[in-house]
């Protein structure tokens, strides 16, 4: 692909001047499709809020989507030969005043409600010094802690065969077109 057509394509993926970015994508749960969706998301939302906010958005969504890949797969009914069914994810993200709103739905196994309970870090305490204590360090269990830490207004319901999860990644700065350009005082 030529450089100019790459640039044209990139321009098409970004919101028109003066508009806020939105994003919608449907994909099968898999670490590779999750990575592709997040890369596309970053391209579209870069510049619509501070770098730190976009990084938090990307991290929160990565944790949610990884969980669906890891825990959502269920087996089909026996008439469908009981094959594993990787969930089909619908992801919708929109920049609003006050935050970036995310809605994630999937047709995987129900989300255990305990995931939404307020939680502590899987590990707190003084740094372990001896080999035995080091072996007790957790290698997982950080995902829902991070999601809760990075998001607000987290809500969930299950309807029919789908999980619906919605949350906001808060933004304190005004919408970009509302104020003077960055660096202008």
């Amino acid at each position: 692909m030529s450089v100019s057509s790459q640039q044209a394509e990139r321009r098409l993926r970004q919101p028109p001047p003066g508009r806020q970015p939105m994003f919608h994508r449907i994909f099968r749960a898999d670490p590779a499709t999750v990575r592709a969706a997040l890369l596309f998301l970053r391209e579209r939302f870069d510049g619509s809020a501070g770098d730190e906010v976009i990084a938090k958005l990307e991290l929160a969504l990565a944790e949610v989507l990884n969980n669906i890949c890891e825990h959502g797969t269920r087996n089909e009914a026996e008439r469908l030969a009981g094959r594993p069914h990787a969930p089909l994810i619908h992801l919708c993200v929109a920049r609003h005043v006050g935050g970036i709103a995310c809605a994630v739905t999937d047709d995987g196994r129900p989300l255990p409600l305990s995931c939404l309970d307020a939680r502590d870090l899987p590990w707190t305490g003084p740094p372990p010094r001896d080999a035995e204590a080091i072996l007790l360090l957790p290698e997982g269990g950080f995902g829902w802690f991070l999601i809760q830490e990075l998001t607000a207004s987290l809500s969930y319901f299950r309807e029919g065969r789908r999980n619906f999860l919605a949350f906001i990644v808060p933004v304190t700065e005004p919408l970009l077109q509302a104020g003077p350009p960055p660096g202008d005082t």
Binding site: P31, A32, V34, R35, L38, G50, D51, E52, V53, A55, K56, E58, L59, A62, E63, N66, C69, E70, L121, W123, T124, P127, P128, A131, I134, L135, L137, P138, E139, G140, F142, G143, F145, L146, E149, L150, E173
Partner: protein, 115 residues
């Protein structure tokens, strides 16, 4: 998976030439680094300077590498970019793992202050 092994006088440095340390590569990353550590000296440095994004599966892989360090070997992390450093800080794993600040990351942070 791109990893570069750089021998050092007192051990070895493994430079991670991947922009994303995520669920797509976490397990392979852990296995590769662990096999690279098997040879070499006491000091093992994991250079994460090229990593722009890390999620909790990448973090879990780094912790697994730390836990599997052979007796008498030390693991040091270096070159943390702001997004990677945030994951270590939020999970408090920055208090457990040895993280060496480099001049390069300080410079990057000065150029791009967090808002």
């Amino acid at each position: 998976m791109q990893l570069t092994l750089l021998p050092q006088p007192d051990g070895l440095t493994i430079r991670v030439d991947e922009k994303r340390l995520d669920a797509a590569i976490a397990t392979a990353f852990k296995d590769r680094v662990r096999s690279m550590i098997a040879g070499g000296g006491a000091q093992v440095t994991l250079d994460l300077g090229g990593v722009e994004f890390m999620d909790s599966s990448g973090l879990g892989a780094v912790i697994a590498i730390y836990k599997a360090m052979p007796a008498g070997r030390r693991l040091t992390l270096t070159g943390l970019t702001p997004n990677v450093e945030r994951v270590f800080q939020l999970t408090r794993m920055d208090t457990v793992l040895t993280i060496r600040k480099t001049a390069e990351t300080t410079e990057t942070r000065q150029k791009k202050p967090e808002r």
